[in-house]
Amino acid sequence: MLIIKVSNLSKTYEYYKKQLGVWASVKGLFRREKLHKEAVKEINFSIEEGELVGFLGPNGAGKTTTLKMLSGILYPTSGEAKVLGYTPWKRQPEYQKQFALVMGQKNQLWWDLPAMESFILNKEIYEVSDADFKENLDELVELLDIKDILDVQVRKLSLGQRMKCELVAALLHKPKVLFLDEPTIGLDVVAQKNIRDFIKQYNQKNKTTIILTSHYMEDVKELCKRVIIIEEGKIGYDGDLARLIEKYAPYKVLKITFEGEGVKEVDIREFGEMHQFAPHSITLRVPREKAKNVARDILSSNLPVDDILIDEVDISDVVRKIFSNGN
């Protein structure tokens, strides 16, 4: 079943140019130059029920803006979107009761009160029955192991503990669609893994449709089968994470070890682009389709080859490359 359908969605922000200096500020009182930033440009995608899709892209690419439009916080400049059959920015309560947005850098919990107070308030706002509330809360508290911190003021919690409580607050009403914007930002590796494991389990158990944005490759590698890459407001790639490599990395990596005296750099250079060099171990980049031939050529040469390995480029490197192009 199609859960999210986005068609030609665009968002343009208006802002004013401010030149340096006091005089420019005075002039600005009378005449300002209006500029437009197209944060999202006519994007299209659709997501099926139960999918866990990763949104990737450098800062300012338009990921969060897209999530905000899908949550109904922002009106788009043009285009359409349907989530669960609703237009998000109409902000109908029937829709709002079926989704949640968790923002790693913003909190919805009442800062000065124990998290439990926010949970109870959300129970009322989302009109969750007493029985469902108890059941969901017990389950989430158990999964995230936060029994001991429910009655501690939120501002006294560590970032990791707070994030767990944020997730509970967002999931108490059992949303069918979940938007996670950088849920692991700023967390240490252990806490990151805890949150990641939780998201994975939750998605599998409840068949919740999830869109996740993250800067941590580990999150995406662990969780998302499908990724959508946004660059400068446009979709650069939409498909399997595994196939991303073929598109963005048209080469493979040959790792070769040598015995005896090793080799000199000049002897190797003709075979491909040198990535790393040491007399006994080198890494070469060769075009995907030539990888086999190059390996054969090396093996049949006079070089003292001990071992040879043909490998894919690391996905993190691929994404890093995409991000650096975007910037």
């Binding site: 922000y13 969060t64 905000k68 949550s71 109904g72 916080i73 922002l74 009106y75 902000r91 309560p93 709002q96 009761k97 989704f99 949640a100 947005l101 923002m103 850098q105 913003k106 909190n107 919805q108 009442w110 000065d112 009160l113 107070e117 926010s118 109870i120 308030l121 959300n122 009322e124 706002i125 989302y126 009109e127 003021q153 914007d181």
Partner: protein, 265 residues
């Protein structure tokens, strides 16, 4: 409705964590009254009456205007509204099946509850201090009418605060507007002195604004300077203003949301 009740109680609990700050405000309230009382005592040294106010009436006016104004203040709720918009906290509220305007009313009400109780205690102290100068003459219907007027006053102040706060949709800063309107409204509402002391032009102009109905008319009713019927008319005017301001809130809210950029996330 239950959700808004929870918001009020949460906000009251939150206020308790800032009790020192509330106590600090309470000191300022008193200082303001002391200043006014001193000025009028000096002015009345050489005259018996000013524009129909005897010294006791004037002291009573000042004390009750002070009391009413602090009972109904929103304690700069404008800045809360503006912060929600500027810091993007509004986003969290927009996600949920709740009315933002009702949410804000609940927060504002929870927020002032403790300060309100403190003002009541302060009022009792002030009344006992000025007991020889104050006029106490109230019948039951007038008390009820006064209470209704003060509730309406609170909501007029709150609606104005929300509207001023909404300016944050369009500008990065609302403090200037907030400050100017605050001074103007306290002046025009007769918080510092009876508006009747001003030239007739001000008096006439003031009846086209909501402020005069918020403090001046209730105090006049209290002092018995206007009739019960005139008091009722004052309440009716307050209610009319409430309806008008609510409509403005709705319009500005709708327009503002289209401008909202949900920054800071």
């Amino acid at each position: 409705m239950k959700k808004y009740w929870h918001i009020i109680t949460n906000e009251i609990q939150r206020q308790f964590t800032y009790r020192a700050s509330i106590a600090a405000y309470a000191f300022g309230n008193i200082a303001e009254l002391v200043a006014l009382a001193v000025i009028w005592t000096i002015v009345y040294k050489n005259v018996d009456a000013i524009k129909g106010y005897s010294v006791n009436e004037m002291i009573s006016y000042v004390v009750f205007a002070w009391f009413f104004s602090f009972l109904t203040t929103t304690y700069a709720f404008e800045t809360n509204v503006a912060q929600d918009i500027h810091q993007g906290t509004l986003s969290n509220l927009l996600l949920k099946p709740q009315s933002y305007i009702r949410y804000m009313m609940a927060v504002a009400t929870g927020r002032i509850t403790i300060a309100f109780l403190i003002v009541l205690v302060q009022g009792a102290l002030v009344f006992s201090f000025f007991r020889n100068s104050l006029i106490f003459s109230l019948d039951f219907p007038t008390i009820i009418l006064l209470l209704c007027m003060l509730v309406a006053t609170y909501f007029i102040n709150l609606f104005l605060s929300i509207i001023i706060g909404f300016i944050a949709f369009w500008t990065m800063e609302i403090n200037g507007t907030y400050y100017s309107l605050k001074v103007f409204s306290r002046f025009m509402s007769g918080t510092f002195f009876p508006i009747g002391l001003l030239p007739a032009f001000f008096m006439k102009a003031s009846f086209f604004l909501p402020f005069v109905y918020t403090i001046y008319i209730p105090v006049q009713l209290y002092l018995g300077k206007i009739s019960f019927a005139e008091g009722l008319r004052g309440l009716a005017m307050e209610i009319l203003w409430l309806v008008g301001l609510y409509a403005i809130i709705k319009i500005v809210w709708r327009a503002g949301l289209r401008k909202y950029e949900s920054v800071g996330i």
